[in-house]
């Protein structure tokens, strides 16, 4: 257990380093700082829900890794649809809550755009990472229930910060 935890921690420190490198922007606009935990958390949740569903479908023999597989395609579509439902709420919530605690403000439209665009990109990435990780676990004879969720949540943390950083660079 402990060696895996150390490796996952090093992965997370990569995400921390990206955060550290745009600390000045984050401290300037607290609504972006509020977005950080919820964005990386929601990306990880989208991925782990998908992972759990794919793993169950695999165990039940209902999943083949073909591009025209209905279970695969339907769950991928649902993940992207969920991101377009949840991330605008994330943006609105972050904007409203930071309006209560801080003076300097970004426009509501800016925060909504940052959250929704980051969410859409992250949903697509979470789908790809989850499918690849589930397929890899299956090929190596591992139980996807054990390995895929930690991989997906920790990778989502890194991708979440990187995507948020990229979107902020373009939008703000």
């Amino acid at each position: 257990m402990l060696p895996i935890l150390f490796v996952l921690t090093l992965v997370e420190l990569g995400s921390g380093l990206v955060l550290d490198s745009f600390e000045a922007t984050l401290l300037q606009f607290p609504s972006l700082l509020v977005l950080v935990p919820v964005t990386i958390g929601t990306a990880g949740n989208l991925g782990s829900v998908l992972a759990a569903r794919l793993s169950t479908a695999l165990h039940l023999g209902r999943l083949s890794f073909a591009p025209d597989d209905e279970v695969l395609a339907g769950n991928a579509v649902a993940t992207v649809a969920l991101s377009f439902t949840v991330f605008p709420a994330v943006g609105a919530g972050a904007w409203a809550l930071s309006a209560l605690v801080a003076e300097t403000q970004l426009a509501l439209a800016t925060v909504l755009l940052v959250a929704t665009a980051s969410g859409a990109i992250l949903a697509v990435l979470a789908v790809l990472v989850t499918i690849v990780a589930t397929y890899a676990a299956y090929r190596f004879g591992l139980d996807p229930d054990d390995v895929v969720i930690p991989v997906v949540t920790n990778v989502s943390d890194v991708l979440g910060v990187v995507v948020l950083f990229a979107v902020v660079q373009i939008v703000v």
Partner: protein, 201 residues
Amino acid sequence: MAALDTPMSVVEVAREAYREALPALSVSLVAGLLSGVVLGGMQDELRVVSGLLMLVPAFLATRGNVFGSFGARLATALHQGLIEPRVRGGDERLRAAVTAALVNALLVSVFAAVATYFVLTLLGLPHASLLTLVAIATIAGALSGAVLATAVVVVVFAGYRRGYNPDTIVGPVVTTTGDVFGLLFLLLAVRVVLALLGGGG
């Protein structure tokens, strides 16, 4: 759930997946926003203790990794009848599992603080002293670990006794408690350490 033997179309699969996932995602969204508010309120501490922000993702992920697997083990042990769903009575296996989770959480938190210090030093970036970072990680790791271990045990046992499958409660409990209490205790730890050791440098 649709019948397993009839093949479903892509739209049917998507609709079912969407409907089943939305409630849990919405609950953890609220918890995520709350932890974001705590992080947003930490601006002063983040300015004073350079490198603290780098520690945040690793610190939060450790809560999920350690106590998520602790909860999963607890659920499996309950299913197998290896432990009784009672906190009192001092079950040997339960105490050993709790101790192992707490020790893992502490070790990994301290490892994250040391690694943060060395990465920032190697890159020539500003950073607080090793003592400051390690002290913050130790205090925050111990306090949030104690709360999380208690929350997982109590909620899983109570849920199991009421007939819920502990496997489905563990994830949401760990993510919601972990993010909010993780950052609250991180903030508390920074304030305590700054009061004891002075500025972070």
